[in-house]
């Protein structure tokens, strides 16, 4: 008790030297804001997301309705981006397609990152034979030409939006798994993990609440780049007719619909917007990824 009293006295002395608490993520966000390209990407992606979420609620034009009296019209007040070769409004399809593409991006990244974290985490933490089995499985997955597998998967399961998401998600976890494993291998040797064990904390808790947050930065970065890839992959699959099926619009199958020379030459409003949206979205996501990589790198002190 003597001890307590002594400390109470010294307590009144010290206050001014305290650093104000700023967590790692607050700091990182401050660094992120200084990254101009990344902020540009964030704003662009934000606009794309908001537009594709909000506009369909107000838009009177249907993305599905065929109107044979208005086939292949130029952009006008009625149809801001014209109509396609069977009379559907391109603007409405573009916006709805944005929902689809972004959904594919987010959900498939959610799937692939979860798988990657779980497998990579177990491999890295357990080590030894478990690590060997999981990582050889990963290597094997990486060896397959992914497009061919996706084509087979889609062919077996049947092409649809959900199967596309599933196929992309189930195939693109390898990079994340490797990164997670590398981080875990490094982190589990650090003394604070030994300290956790010495405190009698359960293994699951150590893996997910102690090691994982420390490994988050590279995982977030890789997830961002994976998202850009997933959007591209969806576009590619839909273009080939293996992804999202008509009449559901997606940027990829809008491009796919515009494959004939006549459309390419005389109706550019059918494909330029979709192509541009893919480019803008993927570019924005990549910029954000770049920014995150710089902002989350603890060695960078901007």
């Amino acid at each position: 008790m003597k001890l307590l009293r002594k400390n109470q006295e010294s307590k009144n002395l010290s206050n001014s030297y305290l650093l104000k608490g700023e967590s790692f993520f607050v700091k990182s966000f401050k660094r992120f804001r200084k990254h101009k390209l990344a902020m540009f990407g964030l704003i662009m992606l934000g606009i794309v997301i908001i537009l594709s979420l909000i506009i369909p609620l107000f838009n009177s034009l249907s993305a599905f309705e065929l109107n044979f009296s208005e086939v292949g019209q130029r952009p006008s007040w009625k149809h801001p981006l014209g109509t396609d070769n069977i009379g559907r409004d391109v603007f409405a399809r573009l916006i709805l397609g944005g929902r689809v593409s972004l959904a594919v991006g987010f959900v498939s990244v959610l799937i692939s990152t979860s798988i990657g974290i779980i497998l990579g985490g177990i491999a890295g933490y357990k080590g030894g034979i478990v690590d060997n089995i999981i990582m050889r499985l990963t290597d094997t997955m990486m060896c397959f030409p992914y497009l061919v597998i996706i084509i087979v998967m889609v062919a077996v399961l049947g092409p649809s939006l959900y199967n596309t998401i599933l196929a992309i998600g189930l195939l693109s976890w390898t990079g994340t798994a490797r990164i997670t494993r590398g981080q875990f291998l490094y982190l589990r040797e650090l003394q604070f993990i030994e300290a956790d064990i010495s405190l009698g904390i359960r293994e699951g808790k150590i893996i997910f609440f102690h090691i994982l947050p420390n490994a988050f930065s590279p995982i977030i970065v890789s997830a961002t780049f994976n998202m850009a890839n997933a959007i591209l992959m969806e576009a590619g699959l839909s273009y080939l007719g293996l992804g999202v099926q008509v009449p559901t619009p997606s940027w990829g199958n809008m491009l796919g619909d515009a494959q004939s020379v006549t459309i390419l030459e005389i109706m550019p409003w059918m494909w330029i917007p979709a192509g541009a949206m893919i480019a803008i979205t993927v570019l924005s996501v990549n910029f954000i990824g770049d920014g995150l990589r710089d902002a989350l790198d603890p060695k960078m002190k901007l």
Partner: protein, 325 residues
């Protein structure tokens, strides 16, 4: 004083692809409740391994506990299942680590790291646990404990982190604290503060302490009993005054002679023990200290005295063929 922990014939070896390391080769000792044991020795002599293996905190594999028992509250720490051991770690036996810079999780607040043991072992609610954490921080001398619970480890200086680490070690009020060179990474003034703190805590909580260090000065200040380890063996064990005033083993004598002394004015070179500590990839036939020992006799190279540690005058144990006076 009742016996709290009884370690008997503990052997810990490491087996890698290249070689087999005999890190700890059969050490036995008892820790009474309220007692502080100091374990001293050179780098790589098996100090840390010998205590960390009690809680199985060494990497296994490559490490393995070859033999031995460590009876704590009627249970053998070395053979109980992992699940039961987990309930003892942090709860009944706390650990304070050497380097306060690396033993914290950088992305969790101090408060969250403090309360984990309480939530895990005592089943406290988060709110109650934070109250307790605040009290502990106050005891170890952190100003503004309530505010500082929300801070991250990098916002603390080295000495303060070591204080927080002591608080973490103490939070479940363990019976034993294992301190693995807790002052080595700190500068001397902070060292003195931490030692004072641990002494006060020992008085207040009645905790037993196993204190590992290579700093003989620190041990003299805090321990009741000192064990000197060499080559994975205990070569001498005695109450602290007896060991410092009347060391019986040539190695202990050498260690004490190599310390700088405050009294006296003769500016002569410090003594040293020539040679290197043994590389533990094979067990010596004779005494592991024989190659470096200036008192050696023929028997030393033939038979290992470590296997038959002798009791001379009460609590003073020494493993040497010579009866040095």
């Amino acid at each position: 004083m009742p016996v709290l922990l009884k370690v008997k014939n503990l052997k810990v070896h490491f087996e890698t692809y290249e070689e087999y390391i005999y890190a700890v080769n059969g050490i036995s000792y008892t820790l009474n409740s309220g007692e502080t044991i100091g374990i001293v020795g050179e780098s790589g002599c098996g100090k840390t391994v010998s205590i960390m293996s009690l809680l199985r905190l060494i990497d296994m594999p490559p490490g393995k506990i070859v033999s031995g028992t460590a009876i704590f509250e009627g249970k053998d720490l070395l053979s109980i299942p992992q699940k039961e051991l987990q309930k003892i770690r942090g709860n009944k036996i706390g650990v304070i680590f050497q380097d306060p810079m690396t033993a914290f999780n950088q992305v969790m607040t101090i408060g969250d790291q403090l309360i984990e043991g309480l939530i895990e072992h005592k089943g406290m609610s988060k709110k109650k646990a934070l109250e307790e954490a605040k009290r502990l921080l106050d005891i170890v001398g952190i100003a503004n404990p309530r505010e500082r619970l929300r801070d991250y480890p990098f916002q603390f200086s080295g000495g303060m982190r070591q204080r927080v680490m002591i608080a973490i070690g103490l939070i479940c009020q363990p019976k034993i604290i294992i301190a693995d060179e807790p002052t080595t990474a700190l500068d001397v003034t902070i060292q003195a503060q931490i030692i004072d703190l641990i002494k006060q805590i020992r008085e207040e909580f009645g905790t037993s302490i196993i204190w590992v260090t290579h700093d003989l000065g620190v041990v003299a200040g805090i321990a009741d009993k000192v064990m000197v380890i060499y080559g994975g063996y205990i070569i001498e064990e005695a109450p602290v005054d007896m060991l410092y005033n009347n060391p019986k083993h040539p190695y202990t004598r050498g260690l004490l002679a190599s310390l700088p002394k405050i009294e006296g004015n003769d500016r002569k070179r410090l003594d040293y023990i020539s040679g290197q500590p043994p590389y533990l990839n094979k067990l010596p036939k004779g005494c592991p200290f024989e190659p470096r020992c200036s008192y050696r006799i023929e028997k030393c190279a033939q038979e290992n005295p470590m296997l038959t540690i002798r009791n001379i005058e009460g609590n003073h144990r020494v493993a040497c063929w010579l009866g040095l006076e």
